[in-house]
Every structure is written in C-alpha cells, then in structure tokens.
C-alpha cells in the first residue's frame, strides 16, 4: 500500500474525532443551529421590510416580484456565507480547540504529517458545513416560500465545492494565529472572517460596494463563490456560463492550500523554537 493511502487513513482520525465531539456536544450543536437559523432569518427579513424601512408607501417601492428576488438574494448570501464561515472556522479553530482541551502536544507529537492533519480537518469541515447549511436552507425556504424553480443546483454545488478549497487554504493560514498567540489568536481569526464578510459581497453585489471595498473584493475568493451561486440559483446559469468562475476558484484553491500549509508549517517551527506549543490560552 502506498504512503498516500496510509496518510489518508490517518486523516480519518480527525474526521472520526470531530464526529464524536459533535455527538457529545449535541446540546451546543442545537444551540448553534438555532443561532444560525435566527441569524439567517433576521437577514432575510430585511428584504421583507425593505419598503417600510425606506419609508416608501404601497405601490411606490419594490413590487412583490422584486421583493422576492431580494429575499432570495439575501438568503443566498446568508446561507453561502454561513457555509463558508463554518468551513473557515472549523479549520482555523483546529488549534484553539486543542489548546482548550490540552491535547495539542499529543496531536503534534503523533507521527502524522501536518498536511494529513489538515486534510482530515478540512474534509470534516466540508461535510459538516454542507449538512448544517442544508438544514438552515430547508427552514429558510419553508419560512419564506422561496421560489427556487429556476435554480441550477448542480452548478451551484460545483461552485461551492470549488470555492471551499480557497477557504480551507485561508483557514489553514488563520490557524497559525492561535498557534502563535495563545491568548488572543482566536479573536484574530474572527477579524479575518469579519473582513471577508465585508469585502465579499455577502449582502450586496461586490462591484456595487463603495471604493476601495469594490476593488479589494476582487481578491477575495468568497466574492466569486457567492456571485457564482447567485447566478446558478437565481438566474439558473449552468457550467457553460460558470466554468471560468469554477476554474478560477479551483486554481485559487490549488494555490491557497499549499500556501496555507507552508505558512502553518513555518508557524509550527517557530512555536517549537520558542516553546509556544505548551502554553494554553
């Protein structure tokens, strides 16, 4: 059997461990799910109340079709962002979680390559993110009676998967922060996440943002994920229209993941030189 096969098997350690943790912390998972649903519904409700909030009387503002389109626009932003945030958080918090439990030294002295460690964590994050988002999606669709008749789910899923690669890469880079800054590293990863929300056109078309945000948004992979999924689910675009976006996202992922592992490995070497692995924040 090849080394890659055994490394892949070893990466299942992280998948199985995280599944067990989700099962044991099921109460918190429920709370987290309710929090996410409430957040998503609150964002989508903005569309429903847009005319009232703007002080526009009946007949003068958005019509019902436009409101429905705005609901769908915001719902997709909220859901896709939720998915990307789960992927980013699961990967970037793999270190802070282990610091909190006190197991970090045992994981780091195990004969597992850091790439394997991260592949296992990333695989779990993708599956977990998809399941979590699917539940929220069902509830949002039921509550707002969203019209998904025009949606192209296949191309939307393909964009989501391709875009996840870059987010995993950014998450791995973010994971170096709790490694090097045990006290405040987690908060720093939240700053990255907030910055990504700001520049990626989650609730507004990226190109319509004020400068310099519109220009900066060009460099965020999440901009293309959210834009691509909107095109697939609202306008029904398929592979023939979306392949340049998909290729771009895959290429970005192929750069971001190795870059993330390189940054993390450099951080790990620094932590081993300075004794930062041992400290618990």
């Amino acid at each position: 059997m090849s080394l890659a096969y055994y490394e892949l098997k070893a990466s299942y350690a992280f998948v199985e461990r995280n599944i067990n943790l989700v099962k044991r912390y099921w109460g918190w998972e429920l709370v987290w799910m309710l929090y996410t649903i409430a957040n998503s519904l609150a964002v989508v409700l903005i569309a429903r109340g847009a005319n009232d909030a703007a002080g526009v009387s009946q007949g003068g503002g958005f019509n019902d079709v436009q409101i429905d389109k705005l609901v769908l626009f915001l719902a997709i932003g909220a859901l896709v962002w939720h998915y990307l945030a789960v992927v980013f958080q699961t990967v970037s918090e793999m270190i802070s979680w282990e610091r909190w439990e006190g197991t970090i030294e045992y994981t780091f002295m195990a004969p597992v390559r850091r790439g394997t460690h991260m592949v296992g964590t990333a695989v779990f994050s993708l599956v977990y993110g998809l399941l979590h988002t699917a539940v929220v999606l069902v509830i949002v669709v039921l509550v707002f009676h969203l019209d998904m008749g025009n949606a192209n789910y296949v191309s939307a899923t393909a964009i989501l998967m391709a875009g996840s690669l870059s987010l995993v890469g950014i998450g791995i880079m973010g994971a170096v922060l709790p490694l090097l800054y045990p006290e405040r590293g987690v908060e720093m990863t939240h700053v990255i996440q907030a910055a990504l929300v700001l520049i990626s056109g989650v609730y507004i078309t990226a190109s319509k943002m004020p400068e310099p945000l519109a220009t900066i948004s060009i460099f965020s992979p999440a901009t293309y994920v959210i834009g691509g999924i909107r095109s697939a689910l609202i306008d029904g675009e398929g592979f023939s229209q979306l392949w340049p976006t998909m290729l771009g996202l895959i290429a970005s992922g192929l750069v971001m993941i190795p870059l993330g592992v390189m940054v993390f490995s450099a951080g790990e070497r620094y932590a081993k030189r300075t004794g930062k692995l041992k400290r618990s924040g």
Binding site: Y6, N20, E105, Y106, F108, R273
Partner: protein
Amino acid sequence: MTAAAIEPAHFQGVTVAVDRTARALVVDDVTKVFRQGPGLIGRLRGKTQERKRTVAVDHVSFVVDRGEIFGVLGPNGTGKSTLIRLMSTLLMPDTGHVTIFGLDVEKDEFRVKRLINRVSVEASFFKKLSPMENLMYGARLYSVNPDYARRRATEILGRLGVEKESIHSPMEDMSRGMQQKVAIARAFLTAPVLLLLDEPTTGLDPHSKREVQAAVLEIRDTHDATVVLTTHDMQEADELCDRIAIVDKGRIVALGTPVALKEMVRTPAEPLPSLEDVFLRLTGKKLEDADKEAETK
C-alpha cells in the same frame, strides 16, 4: 551495524527501521533558553532588550541504554519537562542534539515520532469523549489497526483497573487517577520503544500511584521499552529507576545508579543515606524547599 524493524504486526504504514545496537537515547550538550522579547510596542519604541530570559536546560548530556528506566530527578521548574519536550519533538534545542535509536529528533522527526510516546503530569484528553474514543483517536494517529486497537484498549484499560462501564463514558466523569491510567493506556497502545513519562504519578493517591508504577515496570519488561521518567518523588525514583540524573537549575549535578549516588555523598561513619539526603548535599537545599522556591518565582 544491524538494523531491525520494530514495527509490530498491527501497525500500518511505513516501517521504521531501528538500529538496535544504537543507544536508546543520547542527549548531547543540549541547551534550551526561553526568551521574552520587548513586545511589539517595545520594539516600536526602539527597545531591543529581552524582558525575561530563562535558561531551562543548560548544557545537559547523558546516554540511556535500551531497556533502562532512567530517572530525571529534581524540583519543579528545573527543566525536567523541557527535557522531555525536547525528546518528544515538541521543542527544538538551541544547541546540541538529541538522538533516539540513532535518529536525530530534528532531522528524522517523523521517524522518531513513531518510536516514542509520552505521558505527562496533566492527563490531556478531549474531556467530553470517552476513554475508548480518545484511545481510538490516538490509535488512528499512530496507524494502529482499529479492530486490534479496540480489543487492545479494552484489555489494557482492564489491566490498569479502569472499570468496564467507564470505558464508554465521558472522561470528565473520571477521577484524576483514572484519567492518568487512561493516559498510560494511550501510550501503551502505540507500543513505543521509548516511553517518556513526565511526572506521571504526581497528584495520584497511593493506590493509583502503585498501579501506575507497576504498569511502567510491565511495559519495560514485556514490550522491550526504554523508559525516561521525570519525577520529584524520591521514593519513586529510588524504587523504579536503574539510573538517575539529579538536575538543578537546568544542569545535571550528579548521575548514577541510586546506590552509587548514595555512596557518592555518604561519609564512612553513616549508613547509606536516602536520595533526599543526596539531593540536599549536592544542591545545598531540600527538594521541598526548592519546589517552594520555584512556585514563588
């Protein structure tokens, strides 16, 4: 030179060939200093001086032979845990080298990791997970066959006195003594050829302490393992260790068998002194006082 594979049949993946004729552990002139810089604000103000500098390990050298139980005895804060971390690939030495069965812990890090395991003073686990879930996580990381690992984990936990009903309950419900036994089981499960024990019995009740000590002797005898044990328990060091290094302020002040160390400080008129007396005469202080001194720093 002969090289023999130590990989047990139940391990999967890469076999690590070990030179059985090499010394189990060589620590050669190792130094580790922890520094605290001036911080970002300090640097911006032009400060370059270190705020704090702690010499944790100071030019330490010793050799451990295969099958030995080697004790590192000293008060808290004297560099014992740092030494164990240097052997565990968790820290890089500033100077010197650590080799395990001829493999350098920095250059051959991945292969070294397959040969070692560690039990530390804190039984570090995912506390919501059960002993079995924690052990399976460890087993998968070390590429132990999962079916074998499940059977073996039950067997080892049973022998260490962990009750069957506790095996599938969260670790947070267990006493510290029981958690420490699970930590020992986690290390045993991967069949390390070098077992690093960092104060494994500190804080345990006398009964649990004896069970853990018996388990240490068992792994040495039945698994052909070499053991490095750090402790500040004089009696434990005396009873378990073939040789002991007494450390103070990061340096080795004496090294030998328990009897040789006692003979070293014994005056002709007196009976063989205790290790406590040895420590007092070599460092000028009682171990307890040295511990208190370290705590107030």
